[in-house]
């Protein structure tokens, strides 16, 4: 069970949150081509390692915020507000270890 540090409430169980996926790129204008639109809509970095993602403390303060998390270790490196610039995170090598292997 992830323990997610809500910037407003402190550390809470994953079960209190809703996942919003990777922080998407900015919304393209309506006149973008089909390919660029598809890229925005569907393509994901889906990184093995650090991901910038959205969470909402839906069963708590109701706020959306961003998390920098390692998708291999699940360690949470940083948390920042919605719309804010992501902090710089250094995590040399940590995600090299593969989950089960």
């Amino acid at each position: 069970m992830l323990r997610i540090p809500c910037p407003y409430c402190g550390e809470r169980d994953e079960a209190e949150f809703r996942y919003g996926g990777e922080v998407p790129g900015s919304i393209p204008q309506t006149d973008v081509g089909d390919q660029a639109w598809a890229d925005y809509l569907f393509a994901r970095d889906n990184p093995k390692g650090l991901v910038h993602e959205r969470w909402c403390h839906s069963h708590g303060c109701g706020q959306w915020f961003n998390v920098v998390r390692d998708t291999v270790t699940h360690r949470i490196h940083a948390v920042y507000g919605a719309g804010e610039a992501p902090p710089v995170v250094d995590c040399s090598n940590e995600s090299q270890a593969d989950g089960g292997r």
Binding site: M1, R3, G20, W64, T73, A82
Partner: protein, 949 residues
């Protein structure tokens, strides 16, 4: 010596000799003492054969004295029905308990299944992959399945209650041996919140059978003092009978607590979820077996276990013991066993360089020692009669014995450590895997960390060296995996440790290889010329010990499985004869009365002919307030929001970014910068969250606030030609005449008695219809007042099902029923609205993709069956072609036997539907084909006169 327990020593042990317990095993009654496990009590009574192996039905005795037990698994009934595969070595011997051996017929001592053992050559590892292909696996499967599996499904009803408990601590100590208790004392004294969990019924770990000197004191005294001190600390909690079963992300440990599990008056099992700042693993070490021929005979036990039985339970497991060891720990146990009165005849050590001290100690006691020897085979068939071994000089020798105590070395108990992400290292000298790099916030101490305490420099010889294969040598007792199976797998190139595990199934039994994994690894290493470190281990996963599934589910059963929301006027509806059903999270009236179809028809006609009343409270209601509210909602809805005037209501559609319809409903402009958004009932929470998400994450510059008032307001919908008259009777309400309050208007105010209300004139039924909102706590009273005002029997309550019929007659879509995750607004006839809106809205761009613009997409139409008396359910398909080349062109999304029209009608999605009005099509359902005609989806009052009346 009590006659009933011939092998019980007269003194010693931690059993309560003042009391006896009586239990049954395979029909016979046995006596034991409180403090006994089933295994110790049966051993005391001289029972040797306790089970049969899974595959070959070999007779098996008890191997261990702990959770690692692979052999002595019983079906046990302590009042909760027969529960399979209970480890006799940890199950307390309770008074009245009934135990049975498993996997044998007719009895554990004579089992016909043994035939499989006599033909064992036909069943090597993975034999089933090589045969049973013809005619098909199904022809054999039933028989194979019956031989697999041990134990049976529990019988009777489960009386156990299961509980979850979340908790927090600074330090979680797993294991209460000397190392765990020392760690707990240290942290406790520092004032930290400490939780100590111990799977055993008693605290003390190895000290319970193996006293030693700690801090200069006798360990019994130390233990007593330590427990007393810990008990006295407010910040320390001690839990026995509680197994740490899983170690998950972010230091969350699950604990299966059976401290109240065996109570006759109402057992409880608790599943703890402990969030620990720091974890200390003091889980000890597990002794490994030795490999030699017939090493699975009853009467061959782990040396530490023999020690535990004599030390803790005062049971002599045999009269004449032979030891087979490769390490000093085994010597330690054997010497202690001998000193406790169980005579050890000989010690066979595979190492040539045994410490002088040990040799002397044996000599003192008159024990023959054979350093550098190789155990060959155990003699006997359903019990041990002797041991043959090759002495250092390679002559074959033999000792007569009735018990072989073996020790293949200790292996740290690191499953939880590995689950937490810890890395193991192979220790050549001690021949075991020890923790190498601890994960953050986790420490391993004591035997679990590889410090076994007494070993003084000498190394352990891998237990698998035996070059001479005499007889079959078992590696995994429960799954009957032998050294030959490992050899076969290697020969066939299943040399990855994971392939080995899966091909031979070694380590996959209920003990998860606690006494076999190391053996497999070292054999594999030896056979492939690698070191065990290079071979690596398989992955330890939760559960460390299997956990009752009910405990993991907790009390989430029945009504607590998933919470249901109840309407404020639930009881009122019940009084009206409502039959409730689940709609999203809600329990709502489906219809009123006993006969589903008749009730629905009656309710529909009431709305069409006079007036019906519908509880629409779950309707989502979200206030959006602020100077940018209109601009925000204009992005959210497909429809134009900016042009709506205050006091007016408009119908709107919401899409996701992929252009798919996700919700619909009306929105109200209460004031210039104050909107009220209505969502469908099922989506109320989801859309509230959707609006928040867009506001907080994307449109955070827009100045507006959102307030979800769904639960504050109960909604009474009155629909039908008489609706106005009934509603107008409420004193203080505005004038409802169409002139002053036409269709799609909104008003708010207070009734004469001061009750606040909101009123909107919208219709989902096609009749003149009003949605009156009042505070939820007044729901029942307003319903009653309306009923009274209408006069007896006039105001007919209608359920969700009637409403569905009404809206189907009217051709109104129900999002999620008439649409699915692929439907865009164009498909349901909103192309013009989409095209008119020049501004961007969520999903707009997707609607411009070629696929979204295709004219042969599935589009919403109505249909009527040509045969007026036929009927067809939702879920039928529109098809072309016949049997072979049949193709679906779409499907019926809603259908009903319309009470208003007296025939079956429906709406559905069909390819290119907009251009096919009047066409005849076939409707297919479960093998039937019915001709139908495509028509406009609105079957009732297409001009909308009645709605606007």
């Amino acid at each position: 010596m009590s006659p009933s327990q011939p092998l019980r020593k007269a003194q010693g042990g931690r059993i309560d000799r003042t009391r006896t317990v009586a239990f049954r095993f395979d029909g016979r009654r046995y006596l034991g003492h409180p403090g006994d496990t089933l295994a110790s009590a049966l051993l005391a009574n001289g029972v040797k054969v306790m089970g049969r192996s899974m595959k070959l039905h070999r007779p098996r005795g008890v191997l261990s004295a702990g959770v690692e037990e692979p052999n002595a698994l019983f079906s046990v009934d302590w009042g909760s029905g027969k529960i399979p595969s209970i480890r006799a070595t940890v199950m307390p011997a309770l008074d009245g308990l009934v135990a049975q051996s498993q996997n044998c017929f007719p009895s554990v001592n004579f089992d016909l299944g043994r035939a499989l053992d006599f033909t064992h050559r036909l069943w090597p590892a993975g034999f089933y992959y090589k045969m049973f292909k013809w005619p098909s696996w199904r022809a054999f499967e039933w028989a194979v399945r019956r031989t697999a599996g041990i134990g049976r499904l529990p019988d009777g009803t489960d009386r156990t209650r299961y509980r979850h408990l979340n908790s927090h601590c600074d330090v979680l100590v797993v294991g209460s041996g000397p190392s765990g208790l020392a760690a707990a004392l240290e942290a406790g004294r520092r004032g930290e919140d400490v939780l100590v969990v111990e799977q055993d019924v008693a605290f003390g770990g190895s000290l319970l059978h193996d006293p030693m000197a700690i801090d200069g004191a006798a360990s019994d005294d130390w233990l007593e003092a330590a427990l007393a001190e810990l008990d006295g600390m407010d910040n320390v909690r001690l839990m026995a009978n509680a197994t740490a079963a899983g170690c998950y992300d972010h230091n969350l440990v699950t604990i299966h607590d059976r401290s109240a599990a065996y109570r006759s008056d109402g057992p409880v099992e608790t599943f703890h979820k402990v969030r620990a700042r720091r974890i200390v693993l003091a889980t000890g070490a597990t002794e490994q077996p030795m490999l030699f021929g017939n090493n699975d005979l009853p009467g061959i036990m782990l040396a530490g276990a023999v020690h535990a039985y004599v030390g803790r339970y005062a049971v002599n497991c045999g009269q004449r013991v032979a030891g087979v060891v490769n390490n000093d720990a085994g010597w330690h146990s054997l010497l202690a066993v001998h000193d406790a009165g169980t005579a050890v005849r000989a010690i066979v050590d595979t190492r040539g360089d045994v410490e002088r001290e040990l040799l002397d100690a044996a000599e003192e006691r008159g024990i023959a020692v054979h350093p550098g020897a190789t155990p060959l085979t155990a003699r006997g068939s359903s019990g041990v009669r002797g041991l043959r071994f090759a002495a250092a000089n390679e002559t074959t020798k033999q000792v007569d014995c009735d018990l072989i105590a073996m020790s293949g070395g200790l292996n740290p108990t690191t499953q939880l450590y590995s689950q937490a992400g810890g890395k193991l290292r192979y220790d050549e000298r001690r021949h075991c895997f020890v923790p190498d790099k601890d994960p953050a916030d986790l420490d391993v101490v004591g035997a679990a960390s590889g410090s076994f305490g007494w070993e003084n420099g000498s190394s352990v010889r891998p237990c698998t060296v035996a070059p001479v294969r005499t007889g079959r040598q078992w590696v995994d007792f429960q799954h009957d995996v032998t050294a030959a199976d490992i050899e076969l797998a290697v020969r066939e190139n299943y040399v990855s440790v994971e392939h080995m595990k899966r091909y031979t199934t070694a380590g996959m039994a209920v003990d998860q290889g606690k006494t076999s994994n190391l053996g497999v690894l070292s054999l594999l290493a030896q056979l492939t010329g690698r070191s065990p470190g290079e071979v690596g281990t398989t992955t330890a996963r939760p559960q460390f010990m299997p956990v009752t599934m009910g405990a993991i589910a907790g009390n989430r059963r029945g009504d607590f499985y998933r919470p249901a929301k109840r309407l404020a006027a639930h009881d009122w509806h019940a009084g009206e004869g409502a039959v409730f059903d689940d709609y999203g999270a809600w329990k709502r009236p489906a219809f009123y009365g006993d006969d589903r179809d008749a009730s629905i028809a009656r309710e529909v006609l009431a709305v069409r002919q006079s007036v019906g009343f519908f509880d629409g409270s779950p309707l989502g209601k979200i206030e959006v307030k602020g100077p940018d509210a209109a601009r925000f909602l204009d992005r959210i809805y497909v429809n134009n929001v900016l042009t709506l005037k205050p006091g007016r209501v408009r119908y709107g559609l919401m899409l996701n970014e992929n252009g798919v319809v996700i919700d619909d409903g009306v929105f109200v402009r209460q004031d210039e910068d104050h909107f009220l958004v209505n969502t469908t009932s099922g989506n109320a929470e989801r859309i509230a969250a959707w609006l928040e998400e867009w506001h907080q994450c994307e449109f955070f510059d827009m100045r507006l606030v959102l307030s979800n008032v769904t639960s504050q307001w109960a909604v009474a919908t009155l629909a039908g030609p008489d609706a106005r008259a009934v509603l107008q009777s409420l004193p203080g309400l505005i004038d409802l005449s169409t002139a002053s309050f036409p269709h799609l208007r909104f008003a708010a105010g207070h009734l004469a008695d001061g009750m606040p209300y909101r009123l909107q004139r919208v219709s989902f039924s096609g009749e003149q219809s009003y949605e009156l909102s009042v505070p939820s706590n007044r729901a029942a009273s307003i319903f009653e007042r309306l009923q009274a005002a209408a006069g007896p029997g006039k105001l007919v309550p209608i359920g969700v099902e009637a409403l569905m019929v009404l809206r189907t007659e009217k051709g109104f879509v129900h999002v999620g029923v008439d649409t699915d995750g692929t439907t865009n607004p164009l498909d349901i006839g909103f192309g013009a609205v989409v095209d008119r809106k020049q501004r961007d809205f969520i999903g707009a761009r997707s609607l411009a993709r070629p696929n979204d613009r295709r004219t042969d997409r599935r589009q919403l139409v109505g249909f009527e069956l040509l045969d007026r008396n036929a009927s067809v359910p939702a879920g039928a398909h529109f098809v072309t072609g016949s049997n072979g080349g049949r193709r679906s062109e779409g499907f019926v999304t809603s259908a009903c036997d319309s009470p208003t029209l007296g025939r079956t009608i429906g709406i559905g999605l069909i390819e290119g539907g907009f251009g096919r009005k009047g066409e005849e099509v076939l409707v297919y359902d479960s093998g039937r084909n019915l001709p139908a005609r495509i028509v406009d989806p609105c079957f009732y009052d297409p001009s909308g006169e009645r709605m606007r009346a």
